[in-house]
Amino acid sequence: MEKNNCDMTTHLHLGHQKSESDSTMCGCEDAVVCVRDVCFSYGTDPVLEKISFCVPDQTLIGVIGPNGGGKSTLMKLILGLLKPQKGQIEVFGTPATKLGRLRSFIGYVPQRFDLDWRFPATVWDIVISGCFTKVSPFQRISGERKARARHLMAMTGVDQFIDRPIGQLSGGQQQRVFIARALVSDPKLLVLDEPTSGVDTAGQVQFFELIQTLRNELKLTMIMVSHNIGQLIHYSDYLACLNRTLHWHESSKGLDVHLIEQVYGCELREYLKRQE
C-alpha cells in the first residue's frame, strides 16, 4: 500500500510538472485543473461554449450562474463523467476522462441527494467508505486511516453522531458527514456541488467557516458550485461566472454587480442588498 501511495505521489508530481508547462498557455502556473476551449452540448443545444480557465494549487474557485447555465455539466466534465466534444480538460496533468486511479485524489461532495432514511449505514460507515477504493477488497482498513477519519469527523463536528444511522441526520449534518467522507482519502482537489442548498442561513455561515478551516489546515484546492454569491465572494479566490460562456472574476476585486447581472440576466442589486 505504501508503495502504491508512493507511485501516486510520483504520478501527481509528474502531473504537476506537465500541467505547469501546459498551463503557461492559459496564463496560470501550478494548475491542478486546466480547462482549454471546452465546448459541450446535449444533442444540438450548446451548454458550454469555449470555456477556458485554470485552477491554481490551493485556491478556492466559486462557480456561480443561473440554473441551466452549465455549472453541473462543467463539474461532471472536470470529474471525468462526461467527455467534452471540443477542447481539453486536464486534472493533475492527465485528461479528466483517463484519470483512472488518480480519481481517488479527487474528493467529491454531492448536491444533497434524496438519501433513503432507512439506508443501512451509520455515520461511521459513510465516512470510512471514503477510503474503500484505496484499499484492496480483502484488506483491513488501517488504524491510521481510522484515526484520520475520527479526526475529520471531529473537525466537521459530526463525531457525536458516529453510531447514528445516516438517514436520521438533518440535511446540514449529512452534508458535513459527506465532507468528512470526501476528505478521508486525503484528496488534493475537493469538488463541492451546491453544498449549501436546503441549509438555513446560520447553517450556511457555519458551513463556509468550516470550509475556510479545512482549506487552511489541509492545504486543499477546492471548486465549489453555489448560489450563495455573498458568501462565495468572501471566501473564494476566484469566481467563475457561468452562463454557457465563462466570465472569470478575481474575488479580491470585490463584487462586480454588472458582471453578475450579465451572467444571471436580471437585476440583482436589490437581491444582493437584501442578502447583505
Binding site: L79, L81, G100, R101, R103, S104, I106, Y108, P110, F113, L115, D116, R118, F119, P120, A121, T122, D125, I126, S129, G130, F132, T133, V135, P137, R164, P165, G167, Q168
Partner: protein, 415 residues
C-alpha cells in the same frame, strides 16, 4: 407433538431422495436469493426481478422449441442443459436490454421493464402455442415445485451459489458505494456500469435456477422479502446480509416442513407466505422499536423477536393441523403411511401401461404424499430387488420410459 412434526419431516426427507433434493435446492436458492435481495431492496430492483422472472417463460419456450423433440419427460441431460442455457441467455439479454435502455436514458427503467417483460411473456405464449403438446408442462413453470428438482439442478445451484457469494465478497465495498449513490461511486473510482450489469446478470441467472422451485410468479418474493425485512431490523450493511439469509433460511425450512406435514399444501406458496409473515412481524417490531426505543436499532433482539414469533406461529399451525381431527388424522397417518389408495395405485399402473407419462409427472408434482406412498408400495412388491430399484430410480429421475415393459406387466399381474 412438536417432536412428531419434525420426526415426520425427517422421515420423509430421508426416505424420499426427491424431497431431500428439493430441500437442498431450496436452501441453496434461499442463500443466493437472500444475499441478492439486499441489493434488490437497496437499489430498488424489485420490479426488475419480477420482470426477468416473467420474461423467463419466453426463454423456456424458446429452449423447448430448440432442444425438445420427444415427450418432455424423456429429455436427456444434454437437452435439459440446452433448455436451461437458452433460458439463462434469454433472461440475461432481457436484463441487459432493460439496464442498457435505462442507463442510456432512452426510456425510464420501469417503462423498459414494462415493455421487455410483456414482450418476452408474449413471445413465450406464442412459442408455446406452436407446440401444443408441451403446453401443460410449460405452464408448470408458472408455479414450480420442489419435486421438479433433479441432481443436475442441485449442481447448477451449487455453482451459482459459489459465484454469487464470491462476487458479493469481492465487490462488498464497491457495492456499498453503488447502493448509496451511483454518481458518488463513479467519482470514487467504482466501475458502476460493469457492476450494474454484473448484478443484472446474477439476478437473471438466479431467477432461472429458482424458477424450478418457486415458479415464474413467485420467484420475485425470494428476491425481495428477506432484504426488505432485514432492512427494517438493522441499520448496518453487513448485518443486513446475515439477517436476510437467516430470514430466508427460516422461511424455507418452515414452508417446506408445513407443506410436508399439512396435507395438500403446495411448497412454493407456503414458503412465500411464511416469508411474508416474517416481513409483517418485522414491520410491527420496527414500529414498536421506534416508538419505545427511539434512535436504537436492537438488531439482535429484533431478529430474535421476529423469527421467534414466526416459529411460534409455524408451530401453532402445524400442531393445529395435526391435532384438529385428532382421531381421524392419527388413523389417516397410520393407514396412509403404510398403503397407497387403490385408485392411485391403479392410476400409476394405468399410466405406465399406456405410456401416459405426462399425467403421471403432473400427479407426482402436485402431490408429495403420492410419491412417498408410491415408493413405500414399490418396496413391498413381490418382485426382484433389482426391479424395485429400477422403479424407485424412475421416481427419482422421472424417466418413466426407462422402466422395462416386463416390470409393468408384473405390476399389472400383481394387481
Amino acid at each position: 407433538m412438536i417432536q412428531g412434526i419434525f420426526e415426520q419431516f425427517y422421515r420423509d426427507v430421508t426416505t424420499l431422495p426427491i424431497l431431500m433434493r428439493g430441500l437442498q435446492a431450496a436452501i441453496l436458492i434461499s442463500i443466493v436469493c437472500s444475499t441478492l435481495s439486499v441489493f434488490v431492496v437497496l437499489k430498488r430492483l424489485a420490479f426488475i426481478g419480477e420482470g426477468i422472472a416473467h420474461s423467463a417463460l419466453g426463454g423456456i419456450a424458446l429452449g423447448v422449441l430448440l432442444f425438445v423433440s420427444g415427450p418432455m419427460v424423456q429429455q436427456s441431460l444434454g437437452r435439459q442443459l440446452g433448455i436451461d442455457l437458452t433460458t439463462m441467455i434469454f433472461c440475461v439479454v432481457v436484463a441487459w436490454l432493460i439496464g442498457w435502455t435505462s442507463r442510456k436514458r432512452i426510456i425510464s427503467e420501469d417503462t423498459a421493464i414494462g415493455i421487455f417483460f410483456v414482450a418476452s411473456l408474449a413471445l413465450g405464449i406464442v412459442l408455446i402455442s406452436l407446440r401444443k403438446e408441451y403446453t401443460a408442462e410449460l405452464f408448470s413453470f408458472l408455479f414450480g415445485s420442489v419435486l421438479a428438482v433433479g441432481m443436475f439442478d442441485i449442481y447448477l445451484t451449487i455453482v451459482l451459489a459459489v459465484v454469487v457469494l464470491l462476487a458479493v465478497i469481492f465487490f462488498f465495498r464497491p457495492m456499498f458505494l453503488f447502493c448509496l449513490d451511483e454518481e458518488l461511486a463513479d467519482i470514487s473510482g467504482v466501475p458502476v456500469g460493469p457492476i450494474h450489469y454484473m448484478l443484472l446478470t446474477l439476478l437473471a441467472v438466479t431467477v432461472v435456477v429458482a424458477i424450478k422451485i418457486l415458479g415464474v410468479l413467485l420467484v420475485a418474493a425470494f428476491l425481495v422479502i428477506p432484504g426488505a425485512a432485514a432492512r427494517l431490523l438493522t441499520c448496518r450493511y453487513k448485518h443486513m446480509f446475515l439477517i436476510a439469509n437467516l430470514i430466508g433460511l427460516v422461511g424455507v425450512l418452515g414452508g417446506l416442513i408445513l407443506s410436508d406435514v399439512v396435507e395438500d399444501l403446495p411448497s412454493g406458496p407456503t414458503i412465500v407466505l411464511g416469508e411474508f409473515v416474517i416481513f409483517v412481524l418485522a414491520v410491527g417490531w420496527s414500529h414498536l422499536r421506534d416508538r419505545f426505543f427511539p434512535g436504537r436499532q436492537l438488531a439482535l433482539v429484533g431478529s430474535g423477536v421476529v423469527l421467534g414469533g414466526y416459529i411460534a406461529i409455524f408451530l401453532a399451525i402445524s400442531a393445529f393441523s395435526i391435532a384438529k381431527p385428532a382421531t381421524a388424522r392419527t388413523n389417516s397417518i397410520q393407514t396412509k403411511s403404510t398403503s397407497i389408495d387403490q385408485s392411485d395405485w391403479d392410476f400409476f399402473i394405468h399410466s405406465l401401461k399406456n405410456e401416459n407419462y405426462s399425467s403421471l409427472i403432473r400427479k407426482i408434482d402436485s402431490d408429495a404424499r403420492f410419491v412417498e406412498l408410491l415408493a413405500r408400495r414399490i418396496r413391498t412388491l413381490p418382485i426382484e430387488q433389482e426391479e424395485k430399484q429400477q422403479l424407485l430410480d424412475a421416481i427419482d429421475t422421472m424417466d418413466w420410459a426407462s422402466v422395462p415393459r416386463t416390470i409393468v406387466k408384473k405390476l399389472e399381474e400383481e394387481r
